[in-house]
Amino acid sequence: MTTRGWNNMHIARSVNPMSKLVMFALFAALVVLVAGGLSEFGALAGENGVGAAAGDGATAYQPAPKLTERDYPTIAGINSRLVVWVFAQLHLWFAAFVLAVPIFVFIIEAIGMKTRDKRYDDMAYEFIKVTITAYSLTAILGGGLLFSLILFYPHLFTYLSVIFKESMFWYAVLFFAESAVLYLYYYGWHWLQGGFRKWVHLTLGLLLNAVGTTLMLLANAWLTFMMSPNGVDAAGVFSGDSWAAIHNFLWNPINIHRFVANIAYGGSIVGAYAAFKFLTARNGQERAHYDWMGYNANFIAICALLPLPFAGYYLAAEIYAYSQQMGITLMGGIFAWLFIIQAVLIGTLFLSANYYLWCGMGRSDGAKRYTKYIKYIAIVLVGSFLVWFTPHTLVLTNSELKSLGGPYHSVLGPLGIMPAKNSAVNLMILFTYLSFMFYRRSNKVATVSWEGTGNAIQVALFTAGIVNIMFLGIYHGYFTNTAYKVAASIPQVVTTLVVIVGSIVLDGFMYRGSKEVGPLHWGRIPERAQYALFLLAVAFTWLMGLMGYIRSGIRQHWHVVDIMRDASADAFTPTLGYAANVVSVAAIIFMAMVIFVFWIAQVSTRKSLPAGYWKE
């Protein structure tokens, strides 16, 4: 281990105890609140007819309270919704990051164990080091969210915590377990090295992920219950058990979507960290290291980004299936224009991820064989991007409406419906994969005799796949029954997967025993590529904030849909401009905190030796 490495550990130890104390204090408060049987809220619950009354060992639940504006405390003129919104959003961003990073740290550590390449182990350690400070901030922000909910929405908090008392208790217990395992995993990294000890360490990593994922699943149940309550009657009387409340209709769709999205998000944030370190590197060796780290982070982000549109589509379809009203509000009502912003941001994600790959091809001397194809990939990506964010109905002035003959453009209008979007996103995914395939091939020379035939098969596979995606989108999207518009998205997805998997397998055979063009020049990448990594992180953050607002906003004037009405002064849907401003300001606060996390990681590498300060 280098001196710098030891310094990192030493200073990291001295930085964290304060935040650990704050974190434990906050969650000790949660445990006291929840494990204490919510006795503090007993009076409040009884007053509103919400609480659970024990009788003959059976638990009887009361209806959801019918609130008035006076039931919502006002404190120092603070806007309650804004406080809860910003705390919840900041907590979610950090939570997504700290839950995702251990997943790929575990995988990278396992790769290091398998290949016995210490670079992987060092990289995994550096990733988890960034997470430690972020973990403290996650807990502090979670505490802030908890207290603001208790202070500003006491009746809602009481209603939910009575139904979820068991899961909240286990959440608190698991949080302690998560903290314990994380600190063992991080601080024991250099202690648990080699042979059996390394296996123990890897097992800790697995345990950390199991606990972290369970925490996320529990918290997801609380928010999905508010969207699709289960085990309750029309008055909100809960008659099920804990599992009934947890296993509500939208729980699994959110679980899948968040799990995949978190990995992509975590990848993008550590990518930004690597970019930051690359730009501030003092020598070629550091630049090479952080270039390699940035590449791996981007690879993780892309791997999770590719299936993400499908997970999102599944979630949206399930929201429609649960409540057509919520579904129409989601994409056909007031929130539809935020989906246009979403489309722009997703397009930005794809373009920046591809741009980074294209720049990264410069690391290999053999890349020039493929650079001529990049412009075609760029054309398809930009074209698909334009289709992806074309709105169905335009916002126009009266004179524009008159000259156009309505809000629906005769040529561009048809591109506004989902079959066109689905076709576009499938093409974007396929061509992003193609960029990646060229990147992988750029430093290799195939040695098999059938290379030409293999390439012909690859081209045929892509051609057939693209034609099929376009056929499904155009024919079923515009010339058949409406029901088939949605149905056609499934074979489109399967086609994309078949092409990607088929191509990976074929390339695997083609490049078996291949020769390398030369050593990869890590660090030989333009600085502008690093800004693509920053863009990826910022676009992800903003996207999650805006889409999270939509997910929560489709409840409209309900705390718990159709069960518990929001009677506060803020029980209205704000304008999109206001919502976008709130999310943007929150994103800026989050980015400032992330820069702080990066800076702390940077500070831990510095050392001052003041001459004559300490007595000899």
């Binding site: 012909a456 045929a460 596979l461 051609t463 034609v467 149905a487 074979p491 086609t495 078949v498």
Partner: protein, 40 residues
């Protein structure tokens, strides 16, 4: 002729994948069609 020979692997693969995707579409759309009829 030489050009055709060069194109032959591509054309054969295109035909195979094309047929494969037609089969895939038929099965997946057919299953959903049956599901729609069954729901009614």
């Amino acid at each position: 002729m030489a050009r055709m020979t060069k194109l032959l692997p591509f054309l054969i693969a295109l035909a195979v994948f094309g047929l494969g995707f037609v089969l895939l579409d038929t099965v997946l759309m057919g299953m959903q069609g049956l599901s729609l009829m069954y729901d009614k």
